[in-house]
Symmetry: C2
Subunit: 238 residues, 2 copies
């Protein structure tokens, strides 16, 4: 019988964590749909039925894989941004600082006890462009506050950029970040630097922030029809 909601104090044997870790790794390697419960339970060295016993279903498992990490990550981003704004007194932040608040928690996660966090980051980078329905439910919930808060911060940092333009540039920014996080060598631009340790993540941020900040600060292009994108979190967008 499923425990329905066991207090996390009681020392459950680590099979739940083992499943989560194995799922994280396999989802990253093969994608969600292509990873079977049998592959997960085999890697985690637990019984096949354990997934349905502890999580209820495969979909609930992937949901928890993301929930477990995304909450703390995005809270750290919000905290970081709040701290920067407090330190700045009333003055507006630079775009570089705003990006730093967005990216630094990612780097910290990549320094996780022995690469567990790094695995998730690559998974997350890919998740942003997965067609899976589950993702279209999970991600907006976690990113809602982050997107709104950072949009406000960037708008203050870049008062000369029209709001519509800024939303598009945030779009591009997330794309570049996701691609960088995914460590995606699909085009195999990069062969070395595969030692994806902490040094690497820090080197990437040092390169990514100036790149994105320059893009965000660029003069707004002229002569555009005012096609009006909007910043919302409505789930029924598509």
């Amino acid at each position: 019988m499923p425990p329905l909601d066991r207090e996390p104090t009681r020392g459950s044997p680590d099979t739940k964590d083992r499943i989560l870790a194995a799922a994280e790794a396999l989802f990253m390697e093969q994608g969600y749909a292509a990873t079977s419960l049998r592959a997960i339970t085999a890697k985690a060295k637990v019984n096949l039925a354990a997934v349905n016993y502890h999580f209820g279903s495969k979909e609930a498992l992937i949901r928890e894989v993301f929930d477990r990490r995304l909450g703390p990550l995005n809270q750290a981003r919000l905290d970081y941004l709040a701290r920067l704004e407090f330190e700045a007194g009333g003055r507006a932040l630079t775009p570089e600082k705003v990006l730093e608040a967005m990216i630094t928690p990612v780097v910290q996660l990549s320094r996780d006890p022995l690469k567990r966090g790094a695995v998730f980051l690559r998974l997350l980078g890919r998740a942003l462009s997965e067609p899976e329905d589950t993702m279209k439910q999970v991600l907006p919930i976690h990113y809602r506050d982050v997107v709104l808060r950072f949009k406000d911060a960037l708008a203050r940092a870049l008062p000369e950029v029209p709001e519509q333009e800024l939303v598009w540039r945030m779009h591009f920014t997330f794309g570049a970040m996701a691609y960088a996080m995914a460590g995606n060598d699909a085009l195999q631009l990069i062969t070395t630097c595969e030692a994806e340790g902490a040094d690497d993540a820090e080197a990437i941020i040092r390169r990514l922030v100036p790149f994105l900040a320059a893009g965000l600060k660029a003069p707004a292009p002229q002569g555009l029809r005012t096609s009006t994108p909007q910043l919302t979190t409505n789930r029924e967008a598509a």
Copy 2:
């Protein structure tokens, strides 16, 4: 018996094309692994066995979905770049012009007879971050020349940017482009503008090029360990 290599002149009934179109659409909606041959053949209104008869296997089908479009697209990019360089005489191009050569063929493809090309573009944008083994074989083959040619053109356009730095910035550039092409509203930044017609694609390029050009032109960050990425096309990188 499979025809082994039928000359494309003979008027094969359009079942091959119907399969390709249906596969393209379904791969975009659900991803590769999650799309069954039965779903494809049902949408294409052909017999289930037709896929294996005409293509040999599911993997060969997805390979041909990409081969059919990626060859012409990347050739158009190379031609566009060559034309710009010819027009410039000996002078170096601006980064904006190089990006224009990269992106304009995409926009033209998006104007394809009634949205067929647009569907593929969203699929392609997602393909760059798919873990599927097939992709890691198909994409480098098609992108090898493009990556090398554009890297040279950008290096001439931006002589002050160190080569290592430039490779990273190309990486970020591809990420932002892929994300923009995929029309990915995973974070639901954008609700309006879902009428993804030709106007939209053109508006995106007008916003994307200045953003990326500014990032490419940014002053190189200081104090980096010289972690040395390299531009290669070796398939055994990961």
